[in-house]
Symmetry: D2
Subunit: 135 residues, 4 copies
């Protein structure tokens, strides 16, 4: 399974009046983990664009388990669940002590740059993922 | 059923390099609709705090159906699904022409201000909701 | 002088752990006031793009005078200071009671869409501004 | 002089429809550099709060020189200009190739936690800064 861990910090502007990260800001860190992973695959959004497609999110769900406080470091663990018709990742956000902060999943479809849906994830991306898995 | 519609606009800073609202920004407009509704109930987050509790989000899911472009006006329709052990809303984001942009739901639990979970939505809020429903 | 007032609300996700709008979020409301004004001129960013130019911000300064709290309504008053070589606006953010929250100014230059600086604000925009001033 | 450099990346949600970082998002990275520096001084916002004061921003100005594109790494160089009645920093944002992206300065005053202005930066913070300077 393709799985990576990236570390981030809860910034001042991420925290709400309760002193904890506003729930909507978790989405930013899921995107950051996904972009870091695409960079590792050497197949990021810029390369996708050059290959004539994009990968819009069609579904996201998040379960919030424990709060993250301002200035806390945390880990986003991203795992590939599926890469066939859709691209599906799941995520666990963990404190440095291993406490579960939240769990999430995202589903992306491939579209051409003029927004026509493709019925499968393009082969170039599948190949890049297979290569990373075999490392 | 308690249902309300609020109108917003996709701002320049909401749009991503594809020219459409970044998927994570939908969460802001769900929050804005919820806050407008709590204001209408005369029971907003400030009043909740004065009553000794908060309503953190424990679950969110969003399905993205069509893109919203920069400067487009849109409507968030929020409906109360449940107000017993948890507070659950569902949302439909619509273009001005009635095209479905996204669908979402959120679940909130009541906690005391020192973060102890309550096993039910406080009666003051239930009463405010019943009053609004009967209008 | 071209001057307009637009009303906004300090949202939950705008507020920081001190319960007041994070200073960086003022920039969003300056942008929103500017976009509302461009819409009134019938010359918004989309029309600019169709006319082959953009108006990037080259300078911003903000003085913070009083805090805005979560859920407070406030007014952004935007005034045109200059529209010749550069486009310059000044702004006053006011509470509903007329208390000054912050003062700001922005300077924009015109560039072609391939990022070549123009030495003057395009005539189409100047004309739209003159027309609005004469109303 | 107290000077530090921190590296960040322009995220997908930072970029606007022109594909470059929205000007308002520079403010986030100034805050991140300042927070990293306060952490190095072992005197971050949490310690300030425990010492009974906060450091709200009263003035910010930014000059934008060159655009940052999505996924570009960049450096924020922060330098202490003044720490007496006010706390003043200046910043240069640089690309990895040393190209100047923007220049900025911020001014902060010390206030007690009930928002009474102090007429000087508290000695605990001055001492922490002197200690860091001597390293």
């Amino acid at each position: 399974m393709l799985k990576r861990r990236y570390e981030f910090r809860a910034e001042f502007f991420d925290a709400d009046p309760m002193g904890i990260m506003w729930h909507g800001n978790h989405v930013k860190y899921l995107e950051m983990a996904r972009c870091r992973l695409f960079d590792e695959l050497d197949f990021n959004y810029i390369k996708m664009k050059n290959n004539g497609f994009a990968l819009p999110i069609v579904k996201i769900d998040i379960k919030y388990i424990n709060p993250i406080h301002f200035n806390d470091d945390f880990i986003v663990e991203i795992s590939l669940l599926d890469c066939d018709i859709t691209l599906k990742f799941c995520y666990i956000i963990l404190s440095k002590d291993g406490i579960k902060i939240s769990k999430a999943s995202t589903t992306q479809v491939a579209v051409t740059l003029d927004n026509q849906t493709l019925y499968s994830i393009p082969n170039e991306l599948k190949t890049a993922i297979l290569k990373a898995k075999s490392l």
